[in-house]
């Protein structure tokens, strides 16, 4: 047992063992809602909104690092910490908001399932109930861990968007120029698009999920370096995939002036422009991302709501032991799937409103996080360094300003 110097391979082994929370969170991040927002933004604004990925990436890394650090030091979930320090009232409003947003997000995931399967000629009245039941069964029967690994493997297919992007023959010079000098009119539409993009890249529920997975992994401060690498890799994956989705859509749909409303439209519209294969690649990626997120999102949500209100929670518990938890989980899944099956349901409105709610909740959750992580009683010597605080508060201020600006523009128009 008494090993000597750690070789390169031991280090690599350590990294792979710790690998997980960041990369899974990053993959789930590019869900149906994300893909939709990226495609729509690119179809409307071309390359001009790609620059938002740069600040989003920075904030994403800083926030997830804070989550990991809080999880490692306290061993407590973010919901636990908020409840214990902010009291019942604030907790209640945050979590009711999160619950509603998550039901909306789950609906979006099932819209992704329905849309992508329709491209392969499967009716949503068949695909949604089957996927919904499978997801529920997987989790309740406790084979969730296996499922998570399969999904992680499948999420490599997200990189297929890279192929999709290249098939659209993008103008790289122009992309570079737009990142440095975007041309953009300031109006309600563009601002709500930016809030939507940031809100979907840094979704509030992810912070809770991230912190819980760090605790479940039993990570320690000694492994901090590897944890940080895991987070950075996860965030890079998120942003790279988002980048290529935007490039794929901007270089085809925007150039042709196609207006799309859902991710499915993007897949369909790619067909005449980039070929049948690109369209199917896009649809397959959408399907995998949707199922992955439809599994994790309701589960994470049921978990942290239970945590905050002191209900027994966990998939290792029996139904009778954790009634509230399973009821919540099943409820979110059933409502999300059922809304899709209503003929002529206002899917775009639901998707839009859940994004807006996400965007509004994000600064609230962020403020809670920054206050908690600067509390010496909770974090001891691991409180935030000034740089973390500057980026954290900066993100809060920018998000709040954007939200207020949107509100003002709406009023004065």
């Amino acid at each position: 047992m008494f090993k000597n110097k750690k070789s390169f391979f031991t280090r690599l082994g350590l990294f792979i063992a710790i690998l997980g929370p960041g990369i899974i969170t990053g993959s789930v991040d590019n869900d149906a809602g994300g893909i939709t927002t990226y495609s729509v933004a690119a179809a409307v604004y071309g390359y001009n909104l790609i620059w938002t990925l740069v600040p989003s990436f920075m904030v994403l890394v800083v926030i997830q690092e804070m989550n990991a650090r809080m999880g490692i030091v306290t061993g407590k979930g973010l919901a636990d910490l908020i409840r214990e320090n902010a009291g019942a009232k604030i907790t209640f409003f945050i979590f009711v908001g999160l619950l509603i947003a998550d039901i909306g997000n789950t609906t979006t995931e099932f819209a992704g399932v329905a849309g992508s399967m329709e491209i392969f000629g499967v009716s949503k009245y068949i695909s949604v109930p089957i996927v919904g039941f499978l997801v529920w069964f997987l989790v309740v029967k406790g084979t969730y861990k296996i499922a998570e690994r399969i999904f992680l493997l499948f999420s490599v297919s997200l990189l297929m968007y890279v192929i999709s992007a290249f098939m659209g023959k993008p103008h790289w010079g122009e992309i570079g120029r737009s990142i440095v000098h975007p041309t953009l009119d300031i109006n309600t539409k563009s601002i709500s698009m930016i809030i939507g993009l940031v809100g979907t890249t840094i979704a509030p529920w992810m912070q809770f999920y991230m912190q819980s997975s760090v605790i479940e992994k039993g990570l320690k401060m000694k492994q901090y370096k590897y944890t940080l690498m895991d987070i950075v890799v996860g965030c890079v994956v998120t942003v790279v995939v988002a980048f290529f989705i935007m490039v794929a859509c901007a270089s085809t749909l925007h150039v042709n002036g196609d207006i799309i409303n859902e991710a499915k439209d993007a897949a369909l519209a790619l067909k005449p422009l980039a070929g049948e294969f690109a369209s199917q690649v896009f649809a397959f990626g959408l399907f995998v991302a949707s199922v992955f997120s439809a599994t994790i999102l309701p589960l994470a949500c049921a978990f942290y709501v239970s945590e905050a209100f002191g209900f027994e929670a966990g998939i290792d518990k029996k139904w009778d032991e954790a009634k509230e938890f399973y009821t919540l989980y099943t409820g979110i899944l059933v409502i999300g799937a059922a809304i899709i099956l209503i003929p002529n349901a206002p899917l775009i409105a639901i998707s839009l409103w859940s994004q807006v709610l996400n965007g509004l909740l994000l600064p609230v959750v962020l403020i809670c996080m920054i206050l908690l992580i600067n509390n010496k009683k909770i974090m001891g010597k691991y409180v935030n360094k000034p740089a973390n605080n500057i980026i954290g508060w900066g993100a809060v201020i920018i998000l709040v300003t954007l939200s207020l600006l949107l509100l003002l523009l709406k009023i004065f128009q």
Binding site: K3, V73, G75, K89, T91, G310
Partner: protein, 422 residues
């Protein structure tokens, strides 16, 4: 005047307190109870002090001269005389808002952690006690401030909001907020729990609280709990305990379990602990640490009893009474020659049903099924199941008895494998 007998903590916190002339003396921030008073007399902790904030200044007063009034359904805090508490009187008290409300406590009967939504207090004559914690839906709604309308809505359907209280004598509070004041809380109620339940609870606690609760257990209990903990938690706790305390706990544990834990620790820390432990225990552990992870040696228990085949049943009984082995060791007895080589096995049953003068050679079962110390673990389960064994002796390449593998260890290994395969 209408002095209420029972009230909720949430009804007074954040409300103004008044003196007898109806003049505001500040806002109630917290109530202080004496946690030790719960161990004697009524079993309910008495409220000692009240924390009041007035114009940005926080003052602690004695609760003796305070009382709670209900006027037109509203709860009022009235004070006859303000007596400030000094820091000695404040120390050692439990803060109901800071450490109990919204925090997790242990439900002793339910053997799990629950979150406190509210605390119910009662005033009897001049003393006020915390009598129960509210962990139900009603308490949560009361905190949010929507209990009344929801209650009304429920009453239309002739049903009630599910409420759930636990009496104070059936809970143990976990106070991890006092980092500077050494509270040396006894956690006496936790000592009554089964080690496995206690281990589950400690795993669910935060980092700071789990270490604090663990270090309050006596060595014997701590050792039993340590065995049941998951590896992550074991490592975390061993790293937060002092070397002396950690070594004391490890001394009380079977050597094979200690070897498993030390394997997960950093090498330096493990070496420190081994040096601090008692000589013979640490020697046994060191021998076990040599075996690689997947071998029989790494899961075997080295605590075995072996006898010479010429001894009588009476001799064996005398020796057992003298050594007083743990039950696992007692059930499976072995016969070895003068070079410690394994010859046979016999069971406690053979001893019990035989006459005192019978020799071991007459009752023993020679050439027993055995394992080699460097054999792979995954072969063990099959052998256990094939021969219906509860324990199998382990020998080295010279047939010298090294220990035994108990069915419990085999099952533990199988479960761990299944879990990591997921």
């Amino acid at each position: 005047m209408n002095t209420v007998t029972t009230f909720y903590l949430s009804r007074v916190i954040g409300h103004k307190a008044f003196d007898t002339n109806r003049k505001c003396i500040g806002v109630v921030k917290d109530l202080l109870v004496d946690p030790e008073s719960s161990t004697h007399s009524s079993g309910h902790p008495v409220v000692n002090g009240i924390k009041i904030k007035f114009k940005k200044k926080v003052v602690f007063y004695s609760f003796q001269n305070f009382h709670i009034e209900k006027v037109n359904g509203e709860t009022k805090v009235i004070c006859d005389q303000l007596i400030e508490l000094n820091s000695d009187q404040i120390n050692g008290n439990l803060y109901l808002v800071q450490s109990v409300l919204d925090n997790q406590i242990v439900d002793i009967n339910g053997r799990k952690l629950v979150r406190v939504n509210d605390v119910r207090l009662v005033t009897i004559v001049n003393d006020t006690f915390a009598v129960a914690v509210d962990i139900g839906m009603e308490g949560l709604l009361r905190r949010i401030g929507i209990a009344a309308p929801v209650k009304l809505a429920f009453s239309i359907f002739r049903s009630t909001i599910p409420s759930k209280f636990i009496l104070w004598e059936d809970v143990e509070t976990i106070d991890s907020s006092n980092s500077n004041i050494k509270l040396s809380k006894s956690y006496a109620k936790l000592q009554t729990l089964h080690p496995s339940d206690l281990a589950d609870i400690i795993e669910d606690l935060g980092r700071k609280a789990s270490a604090e609760v663990f270090s309050a257990l006596d060595d014997e209990k701590a050792a039993d709990v340590m065995e049941e903990l998951e590896t992550d938690t074991q490592v975390h706790i061993l790293e937060s305990l002092s070397i002396e305390k950690a070594a004391d706990v490890l001394d009380k544990m079977p050597a094979d379990e200690v070897a498993d834990i030390l394997d997960a620790l950093e090498d330096e820390r493990a070496e420190l602990l081994l040096n601090e432990m008692e000589k013979d225990t640490s020697q046994e552990v060191r021998e076990l640490l040599v075996y690689p992870d997947h071998t029989v040696g790494s899961i075997m228990s080295s605590e075995v009893m072996s006898f010479n085949l010429n001894l009588t049943v009476e001799d064996v009984l005398a020796e057992l009474r003298n050594i007083k082995p743990e039950f696992e060791t007692l059930y499976n007895l072995f016969v070895t020659d003068e070079n410690e080589k394994l010859l046979a096995t016999f069971s406690i049953r053979d001893i019990v049903i035989s006459q005192p003068d019978v020799r071991i050679s007459q009752i023993m079962k020679p050439s027993p099924v055995h394992l080699r110390d460097y054999q792979k673990i995954n072969e063990v389960a099959e052998i256990v199941s094939k021969y219906n064994l509860l324990a199998i002796p382990v020998v080295d390449k010279n047939n010298v008895l090294k220990g035994m593998v108990v069915i419990d260890d085999v099952i533990e290994d199988l479960i761990r494998k299944r879990r990591t395969n997921k």
